[in-house]
């Protein structure tokens, strides 16, 4: 229990002293997870809209499949991406393994199903008359999408919050494709908050782990405040 208090003290110290290592790790976490969240959002919204408003055979099965993929363990995502980008894999020549790019890809893949699924759920909650009104006012596909998003913005942004939360908190894929490398240059390093937490934990440094966890939550709080601001507009 004492370690929790120690964790808070340590977190405060790290933040106050702007510990350069920790700042770099935190910055990397933000960049990678935000990028992944944005990418996944850009994919999930049109995809979710197409599935929600579309009528095609196998639609229900597709939704089922997507919901099933919520359970995709991060380690499996990491493994699959690893197999694809490892040097002997089909995309090996790109030398993406152990790079932040690989982590972005893995996190995007990881959160895409849940974001698509929740987008479908958000859109299915929009009053059908709103939908019809948009059509009848002569919306193009894009205008329709933008406006229906505005109507469902609370739920859509909740989806983004979920996606970001899952991306920044996951560790399995990050460690497998990123490697948790602490290199001397910012761009070559792949250590993010979660992988650092894992490492500290495995070394028995519990206060440090908790301190990093607190920093992670502080970042998440910031992102969520931004999201909520838009949500309630």
């Amino acid at each position: 229990m004492y370690e929790i208090i120690e964790g808070f003290v340590e977190a405060a110290r790290l933040i106050v002293t702007l510990d350069p290592d920790v700042m770099a790790i935190a910055a990397r976490s933000i960049v990678i997870s935000l990028t992944a969240t944005i990418l996944a959002t850009l994919l999930a919204i049109p995809l979710g809209a197409a599935i929600n408003f579309g009528t095609f055979p196998g639609r229900k099965s597709l939704i089922n499949l997507i919901q099933t993929l919520y359970s995709l363990p991060t380690v499996i995502v990491g493994l699959l991406i690893f197999l694809l980008i490892s040097r002997v894999g089909p995309f090996g020549s790109l030398r993406l393994l152990f790079t932040p790019t690989a982590m972005v890809i893995a996190q995007t893949v990881l959160i895409l199903p849940i974001m698509t699924g929740l987008t479908i759920s958000a859109l299915s909650g929009v009053d059908p008359v709103v939908r019809d009104t948009l059509y009848s006012l002569g919306a193009t596909r894009l205008q329709f999408l933008v406006n229906i998003m505005k109507e469902a913005r609370f739920a859509i942004l909740a989806t983004v919050a979920v996606g970001f939360g899952r991306a920044i908190s996951e560790v399995g894929a990050a460690i497998l494709v990123g490697g948790n490398i602490a290199a001397s240059s910012f761009g070559s390093s792949t250590r993010v908050l979660t992988t650092a937490i894992s490492l500290e934990t495995s070394m028995g440094n519990i206060p440090e782990s908790i301190a990093l966890g607190i920093i992670l939550l502080a970042i998440a709080l910031g992102v969520n405040l931004a999201i909520t601001t838009v949500q309630h507009r």
């Binding site: 019809d132 006012l137 002569g138």
Partner: protein, 361 residues
């Protein structure tokens, strides 16, 4: 402009529309009236491309709108629709009205001007910044009208646009509709359950019943010469009674209604089962004693069965073997000292009896 050809619509195992055919001309105001659940909304939705017909064709300017999928955007942009239960976008009233203009890429200053004007026209000036979700039922209905109106569509589809409005607002909106039609030549299809509204606004009325138009005609035609007894009852012909033609010659006939003989103009022949439609305002009620003779007309003695208020009038029902209702002003009722049970006579001309073939329901 709009042609409906044998349009039908089924939901699962329920057939709502079944062979609806009509032509609506450019610049015409066409009212669709019909009982609740007749398919008025369904029909408007089919025209607005919000739903697909199960059969038949809908053409606008000769184009089969449901066949040309790639042109659906431009077809839709010709039309504006006011929904029966309008939905508010979760933003301000002004933004709600601006949406259609934004879709068409209008400039900010144009939008602002048009929105202001529209708000003014529907009597909601000053409501621009209120959140649309907090509007009252009638206010929202007017916003929906403004929303469809600002895009100046060639065709305006309105699904019971004044259902939630008070008479003063209704009058204002009706004037607005007439003005739009007059100034822009907008073709207007309006569904309404207020038949007098149909009459006030429409060039022609279509009575939708049992899956199709039972009658299409000018308001006067529909009101005075209903095509069948269902239409007659629906358009408010109080007196619809069945009988058998017992004598007929020279376009004139005598009909037996449960033992009482009624003279009417008609070309049905002897023995045919018919239905007599007599509008209550064509029936005069007089004290039994003072009934004046009416050449070639009907004078039926009876007693007052009931008196009920009807706006500024009273509806007096007389039992003359079958019930006959008339409408009198309160004053007349007082003056003539008409009370329940009073012996009176009901008189009406043979011309005011509209005869249609009896249909079995």
């Amino acid at each position: 402009m709009i042609e409906l050809e044998n349009v039908s619509k089924r939901f699962d195992d329920k057939t709502v529309l079944d062979g609806v055919t009509a032509r609506i001309g450019r610049g015409e105001i066409f009212a669709v009236i019909g009982p609740s659940g007749a398919g008025k909304s369904t029909l408007l939705r089919l025209v607005d491309l919000l739903d697909s017909p199960s059969g038949g064709t809908i053409r606008i300017d000769g184009i089969d709108i449901h066949a040309e999928r790639e042109r659906s955007l431009s077809i839709r942009r010709m039309m504006g629709m006011v929904f029966q239960k309008p939905a508010a976008f979760n933003t301000t009233v002004a933004e709600n009205i601006a949406v259609g203009l934004r879709f068409r890429g209008a400039g900010e200053s144009v939008i602002q001007k048009k929105v202001e004007d529209a708000l003014d026209m529907v009597g909601l000036a000053g409501y621009g910044e209120q959140r649309a979700r907090t509007l009252s039922g009638g206010e929202m209905q007017r916003v929906a009208l403004a929303r469809a109106m600002v895009i100046e569509p060639e065709i305006l589809l309105m699904d019971e646009p004044t259902a939630n409005l008070d008479p003063v607002s209704v009058e204002k909106i009706e004037e607005l509709v007439l003005q739009i039609n007059r100034d822009h030549g907008t073709t207007i299809v309006i569904s309404t359950h207020d038949m007098y509204q149909g009459q006030r606004l429409a060039h022609r009325i279509g009575v939708l019943m049992n899956g199709g138009f039972a009658q299409v005609g000018s308001p006067r035609e529909v009101f005075t010469l209903p095509a069948n007894q269902d239409v007659a009852r629906f358009v408010g012909t109080e007196n619809v009674v069945e009988g058998v033609v017992v004598a007929a010659e020279f376009g004139s006939s005598v009909v037996d209604v449960g033992g009482v003989r009624v003279r009417a103009r008609s070309s049905f022949s002897q023995g045919e089962e018919v239905c007599l439609c007599i509008r209550s305002e064509d029936i005069r009620i007089a004290p039994a004693a003072g009934a004046r003779g009416l050449r070639g007309g009907n004078i039926l003695p009876g007693t007052v069965a009931s008196i009920s208020p009807r706006g500024p009038f009273s509806r007096v029902t007389v039992d003359c073997g079958f019930p006959l209702s008339s409408v009198l002003s309160w004053k007349v009722v007082d003056d003539l000292e008409i009370r329940k049970g009073s012996p009176v006579s009901a008189s009406f001309t043979a011309e005011s009896v509209h005869v249609v073939r009896a249909t079995r329901n």
